[in-house]
Symmetry: C2
């Protein structure tokens, strides 16, 4: 390793707030010298970053569950890195860690920033780096607590998940199968649907690009939908609302179809189906479950090891490709958990 | 009492399905002779009928929590009547009863129809006929179970209820006060707001006809809304969604603003506030709680007697006025629980 002061840090910062889909000019590329960690501080070299739909929300100047990224700030991103210098007893040089590293090659944390960044060591015996960003990372945690705590699936329930081939959706569906449910995915395109059914073992999958989601739901969910894990919002949410079973639970995890709107969000016009079916719709934010991540990681790691849970990543290389890679999430071009590989492990 | 066979029964039947607001021609007026009860049957003379927003839904040919009223059928309505002939050991001539009597002067039940009609004796020691149609009737049961079971208010919570001067709203608000909550109503017009605050004891009321509901919510709910009991839907639901507190519960009881739409229902475009605030939106249908009505009636009757619960009825006289009276619910002209008095008690 070269001396720290000889390292430069490429960073991607939010230059302005996007109007609709983010474009190149919404970002600025900066380079700065890497500093030494202060007392209790840690310097991390970024290996891989997680690209998530939620990032689009962080770019807006709107009240949400966390403050927006400020103009001129390094874009927020979770990822995996290696500790290359540490003045903190909890972290040693060489440790692999997860946390909010940001879209940059190196992340320097003062001691009092470590908790907020959620910096924590990871154990490769539990899963690969890719798995730590997917099934054992935020998507997996979101799937685990959203499905089990909020969705409350019972064996025999029909569980529907949108964005089924995506990071959260793939774990939701597989976990629901493990818990004894019938699982129907909704995904865009034949390849994703084939993957969801043939590789992940879902009972069925509706290709929303190929045709009528309503008809697909009728075919695949003859007794109605008991749990709907919604990652997309929009028309698909309305189609599922029209197919709810008695006492159904809808988990509102996201609404990717609406994140780049320049017009108001499309509200679910079939929401009165909640009344007719005594159903509920509940929102969730994964950070609320942080105290219970270890339990979820232990369980999911077990499923990864015994082969019941698969974790598919879509890896884009090079920090400079961040702007284009992010857009893939919203056009549906990614296939599996989207990961930006910044450096080799 | 004249001989039964000398009685004629005026009835109002659904002639066709309304398009938007119901009009006179959607109804037909018929007269038929009153029959004698068969073995186990009961004949009831209608005294007062409950007019409810839900009636509008029963007139549509749509899947809902109960089948629609068929074309040519007597319009469904709950009410209070007096048994004038009975071949059933559970009911004696002279008994006051509640049940689905329909919009007609006499309701003849065969033995096997009694259960479906929910025919049950009422006790005037617990409340007046008006109260039995309001706080002790379906509106009160809806308020009680919707607020307490679905809304789960805790002492100190801020509870908002729309349609606050209406049948369900008035009991929701007063009951929430009794349970130790701060209560803010939303109602149309100064007179209703004054009533809600000065007579019913709500902590505040927002007149949606006078101005900005959003600004009113900001003023009256500085810490956000913990429970919202929604009777109206539409823009008001969106305004409340934008003001939710962390972990808020929205009870979807109805959407009177949407019942006469000739365009699709307006979906709540702020529904992603459920995610940001980890909030839930849940539908309820009062009939699910039928086994627990006696418990609710006993409790609410106690509050009526000790003066903590008031019950305001808006009485229209004469069965022929049913079509016009029903429309008052949707224009907001009724003031309190709307009751159609068909005969003197």
């Amino acid at each position: 390793m070269p001396a720290i002061t000889a390292l430069t840090n490429q960073q991607i910062r939010l230059a302005r707030r996007p109007n609709g889909m983010p474009v190149r000019d919404d970002w600025s590329f900066t380079t700065e010298e890497v500093g030494e960690p202060g007392p209790g501080g840690v310097l991390v070299k970024t290996l891989s970053l997680s690209l998530d739909p939620a990032m689009r929300g962080w770019m807006n100047d709107a009240k949400s569950y966390i403050p927006p990224v400020g103009i001129g700030e390094v874009m927020r991103a979770g990822g995996i890195g290696r500790v290359i210098a540490s003045s903190n007893a909890s972290f040693a040089e060489g440790d692999l860690v997860t946390g909010a590293l940001g879209v940059q090659q190196y992340a320097l944390f003062a001691e009092d920033q470590l908790r907020k960044a959620g910096l924590a060591k990871i154990d490769l015996r539990l899963g690969t780096i890719g798995q730590w960003l997917n099934a054992l990372g935020m998507p997996g945690m979101t799937a685990y607590f959203g499905l089990l705590d909020v969705g409350q699936p019972r064996p025999g329930d029909t569980v529907v998940v949108s964005g089924a081939a995506g990071a959260v959706g793939q774990t939701v569906g597989q976990l629901a199968r493990i818990k004894g449910c019938r699982v129907v995915g909704i995904a865009g395109g034949r390849a994703k649907c084939d993957f969801v059914v043939n590789t992940l073992g879902f009972d069925g999958c509706i290709d929303y690009k190929a045709g009528n989601v309503k008809a697909g739901l009728k075919e695949h969910c003859p007794k109605g939908v008991d749990v709907y894990f919604d990652n997309v919002g929009g028309d698909i949410l309305d189609d599922v609302l029209a197919r709810l079973g008695r006492g159904a639970r809808i988990v509102i995890c996201g609404a990717i179809s609406q994140y780049n709107n320049t017009t108001p969000v499309q509200g679910p016009k079939n929401y009165l189906s909640l009344l007719v079916n005594r159903a509920s719709m509940k929102g969730m934010v994964v950070f609320d479950y942080a105290d219970r991540y270890p339990q979820a990681i232990a369980e999911l790691s077990g499923y990864l090891k015994d082969g019941r849970l698969k974790s598919r990543e879509d890896v884009v290389e090079g920090i400079a490709n961040f702007p284009d890679a992010l857009v893939k999430l919203f056009t549906g071009e990614n296939f599996g958990k989207l990961v930006l590989q910044v450096a080799q492990a």
